[in-house]
């Protein structure tokens, strides 16, 4: 027992082997095994993300079944053009992200930095558009739950349904927006490391995993957009 541990430590120091990759952790046999393990872990996390939003989608569906008229009427207060614009922004940002991963896989450092920067900028554009949408809702008192206070006469009868609609709207787009903010932080961290030259075709695991996360954020918006902005 004690000999094995000391044996591991003897081989443990970095730089003992000339061709040893500095990012290769010693409990993995190969870099490929290490990469695959990280990726499986990331996919498991992403499944929990899908299930988290899935629960909210199911709740939204059930409430829409309960207040069908109010939900359809309330959704006309969302600006379809801004929602569509945000869809395009996120799709393009997914493309710049995957192009960044491709640049990392082919050891093109400058390209990787540029694509990461483009992804961050597009994420910021998304949040700015979201801010414009939210401020319109706030100005009209189209707010969730007990904060709902829109005074238009045609809304008075179905107030409860409208409040429920805006509860779900703010909860789901807000949670999605938090994911976008987290994505910006992660992408900035990646960009810092990419500038330092950490990533190349041998080691690009963080770029790949953040890429997967970013695509899930995009995927959630793909469902949010038609369900909120296009219901009829």
């Amino acid at each position: 027992m004690s000999t094995t541990t000391s044996d591991v430590h003897a081989h443990g120091g970095h730089g003992e082997h000339g061709e040893h990759n500095p990012y290769h952790q010693h409990h993995f046999a190969t870099m490929e095994q290490q990469f695959d393990t990280s990726k499986i872990g990331m996919w498991l996390f992403l499944v929990t993300e899908v299930l988290l939003f899935g629960g909210l989608f199911v709740g939204f569906g059930l409430m829409q079944a309960r207040y069908p008229r109010e939900f359809v009427e309330a959704h006309t207060y969302l600006q379809r053009s801004l929602g569509a614009l945000n869809t395009v922004v996120l799709l393009v940002s997914s493309w710049t992200m995957v192009m960044g991963v491709n640049a990392a896989q082919t050891s093109q450092k400058d390209k990787l930095v540029r694509y990461l920067l483009a992804t961050i900028l597009l994420a910021c554009v998304f949040l700015v558009i979201k801010y414009i949408e939210y401020s319109h809702k706030f100005a009209d008192h189209l707010l969730p739950g007990i904060f709902y206070g829109h005074q238009a006469e045609d809304l008075i009868k179905g107030t409860h349904g409208y409040a429920t609609f805006f509860s779900f709207y703010f909860m789901m787009t807000g949670l999605h927006g938090i994911h976008v903010v987290v994505g910006i932080v992660l992408l900035s961290w990646l960009m810092m490391r990419a500038k330092r030259g950490d990533f190349n075709k041998e080691y690009y695991t963080p770029v790949d995993l953040v890429g997967l996360y970013w695509h899930v954020v995009d995927m959630i918006w793909i469902y949010l957009f038609p369900l909120y902005y296009l219901i009829s």
Binding site: V47, G55, A84, W95, V98, N102, K201, G211, M219, S232
Partner: protein
């Protein structure tokens, strides 16, 4: 690009990604156009079908599932499968709800009315319990 990447095989490329982006944008346009027609209750189904197509394109090409080891696809499919079960059973429940009453329940309109003495709504609330008599101080 082909000889020196034995460690991680990746077969995607900028062309495929760009083509995928245009496919996704095209499907977005189709969703918006489809939403402007009134297909009744089929509208939601169409919107969800197109969204699922888009999500599949993202997963297959942007998230590399086409070229990846199958274990990642198995995890992803398992996630969506369980979400599907969740969704399906909830809507089976809501969609098939009727006013559920026991089959052998007597018709309450013809039933003998409950006498007032047994009707909890018509009997006065029971008097609150009288406080227990104070214990006498134990004699020395």
């Amino acid at each position: 690009m082909s000889s020196h990447n034995e460690t991680h095989s990746h077969h995607g490329g900028p062309r495929i990604y760009t083509a995928n982006l245009f496919a996704l944008l095209f499907l977005t346009v189709i969703t918006i156009v489809a939403a402007s027609f009134n297909f009744g209750s089929a509208n939601v189904v169409i919107a969800l079908a197109i969204a699922t197509m888009k999500a599949t394109l993202v997963a297959l090409f942007f998230m590399h599932l086409v070229w990846d080891k199958p274990v990642n696809s198995i995890i992803a499919i398992a996630g969506f499968l369980f979400l599907g079960i969740f969704l399906m059973f909830d809507f089976l429940d809501v969609g098939t709800r009727v006013n559920l009453l026991p089959r052998n329940m007597p018709n309450m309109e013809n039933a003998t009315p409950v006498p007032d003495s047994m009707n909890p709504l018509k009997t006065p609330a029971p008097k609150p319990l009288e406080p227990a008599p104070a214990k006498e101080a134990p004699k020395e």
